[in-house]
Symmetry: C2
Subunit: 372 residues, 2 copies
């Protein structure tokens, strides 16, 4: 069995993440699950959230038409860390990075709450849950990643410092902050976060769907078109970061684009580099090409891309990470090993190992136990 | 010298396109050039247009910081068909398709005028200019392409019929009609146009920048980022068309995406096909894969893409067309032959010929004279 490192999986938060952690005075406004009989749903600061288990369909291929509305609609691996660890281990996935569901993939929910004191306890409760409960269930497997108090970068620095001692390896941030009512990443507002991440070798994971921006689709188009265009916001945002002051001020920053795919990278860089050079004089831009930023500061994640693998050396083989995406509809589980074997049939073992495990091990300072 | 067919060049309309053609009662509202001393500009139905020669910088590499503001800022090949034909011939470009400037690349300006009688005479005047003056100056070189009265598809059919006898080979339409206050291409509103184009073997050319939609960029970002992201609206729109009813109802339609590049095609199709199959059951979609529509109904245009050429067989070599983009900043002129020789150095001659000439000849029913 191959030993796999998945850099993109998802936790469906169990009901007591916040109720068992926030101070009593926030209990009625912190996230809680309400059972209405037909469905269970989260309520956050009086607002009803649309789903209990956004896209948590692993092991239930017959039930993709709707998001799960009760915990009993899901297999336990969605919300129970011990069950998850067993599911992972059985598939040879020996390390896993997990994104939040209720707080949104980039942690943008709590920053949108008007009461920042409430937002702050909610952020810290999720992070404590992540480390004390989720990761603690299988500390050799679950790589600690935090959400941040995005409205207050110095507070985010303190939160990162608080968690570094407890094993933090990554933070999740939204792809495009300025679409969420916050300053854009071009603004030095964010510098404290970039600075501590660079200094502490903490990777920044940005997941598709976290920016609130998506590719235009005609009003009559089926939602599957939006899904098929899922790379577009990542392409757009990653190129924006390549052009931005961020990698110029923080040359050792590590940004990981989750679920955006890898196969588009050479095409995007070819057009960007040509355009950068063509317009450099009048635009007054520096000599750092988009492709140079990309190959120094960015990593991209692949589920199943035979073409992406064929062009792996054009992408840069050390830029490619593998993900399972458990428990979403995209995920390659439980037939993970078979899928990976077929996908990597033509790839030499040393190159497959880089993509499936060792690049991620280096990036997140992690060592996988061997698969059973 | 190689014989080249350029499927994307641009006319800067000379001042008398409309003034010499529209009925007297429209003269004061049809487009006219006003000389204010410092600059010349177009006025259309009382509205001042921002530039006389949008991006018409061919032969003037030192002057890219601003669009030309007087005809004397440009070389004559921008607006004079005879001078253009000489410029083309000297570079071995023996066939050329030309997009409008003032009417916008997809012809969306006149449809936005409130007075549709005025809009109609303006559309017809441009088309008469295109055929009687521009193409007539070098009828073996300039491939007739029309703009359409987009607000009235039956009228568009009549206009196409009027021009077919005079050699029409293509029409230009905007990439995304619904962003321009018109029905989306998913609506059967457009069926008369698709129908006559299919029936008469008339290609539909859609140019980047014609939809009014563009990729998101942070407010502080330099405009060169938008330029570098120039493929994104094409990727988005082309995939939307692959998913749409249009190719399902009109299986022989020919759509050409101009200046959107070619190198992104396999990556986009890989993600789209996987997603299409993954979600087919719940979405209730048919068995026609996005890649099948693409390889049957669509063509893509390349200026200078070494990587795009390396993956030409993944794209489908018969999907790739070449363009010069005269007189825009992107254009490879006057050193066209040198650029093409270098770009195609590793490509066998028969494959280079397909991309540089013969696929376009078949698509537009055209035969190039041999280069001098």
């Amino acid at each position: 069995m191959r030993t796999l490192f998945s850099v993109d999986d998802h936790i469906v938060e169990p009901p007591d993440v916040w109720s068992s952690r926030v101070p009593r005075k926030f209990l009625d406004r912190a996230p809680q699950v309400v059972d209405s009989g037909d469905i269970e749903y989260w309520v956050v600061d009086g607002e009803k959230m649309p789903t209990i288990g956004l896209n948590a369909v692993a092991g239930k291929p017959e039930n993709w038409t709707a998001d799960p509305v009760r915990f009993t609609d899901m297999i336990p691996g969605c919300y129970d860390a011990r069950a998850r660890a067993e599911d992972m281990r059985s598939a040879g996935i020996m390390a896993s990075i997990n994104f939040p569901t209720l707080p949104r993939f980039g942690g943008a929910l709590f920053p949108s709450l008007p009461d920042k004191e409430l937002a702050d306890v909610c952020v810290r409760a999720w992070n404590d849950f992540m480390i004390d409960e989720w990761c603690a269930a299988a500390p050799e497997m679950f790589v600690p990643m935090a959400i941040l108090p995005l409205w207050d970068p110095p507070a985010a620095v303190r939160e990162i410092e608080r968690l570094l001692d407890r094993g933090l390896r990554a933070v999740t941030m939204p792809e495009e902050s300025s679409m969420l009512g916050m300053p854009s990443y071009y603004d030095d507002f964010w510098d404290p976060i970039w600075s501590i991440c660079e200094e502490s070798d903490t990777a920044i994971c940005m997941h598709i769907g976290s920016s609130g921006w998506r590719a235009f689709t005609p009003p009559e188009a089926n939602f599957t078109l939006t899904i098929a265009l899922g790379s577009v916001p990542t392409i757009t945002h990653a190129l924006g970061m390549m052009y931005s002051p961020v990698p110029r001020k923080f040359p050792n920053l590590e940004i990981v684009y989750s679920e955006g795919g890898v196969n588009w990278v050479p095409a995007t860089l070819e057009r960007a580099d040509r355009s950068y050079k063509l317009h450099q004089r009048w635009a007054g831009t520096d000599d750092l090409l988009p492709s140079e930023v990309c190959r120094r500061n960015m990593w991209f994640c692949m589920i199943e891309e035979p073409y992406g693998l064929r062009i792996r050396h054009e992408i840069g083989i050390d830029r490619i990470l593998w993900e399972c995406d458990y428990p979403h509809s995209n995920c390659v589980w439980p037939d993970t090993q078979e899928t990976v074997d077929e996908l990597f049939a033509e790839v030499p073992d040393d190159e497959a190992d880089m993509i499936l495990r060792t690049t991620a091990e280096q990036l997140f300072n992690w060592t996988c136990a061997p698969a059973p």
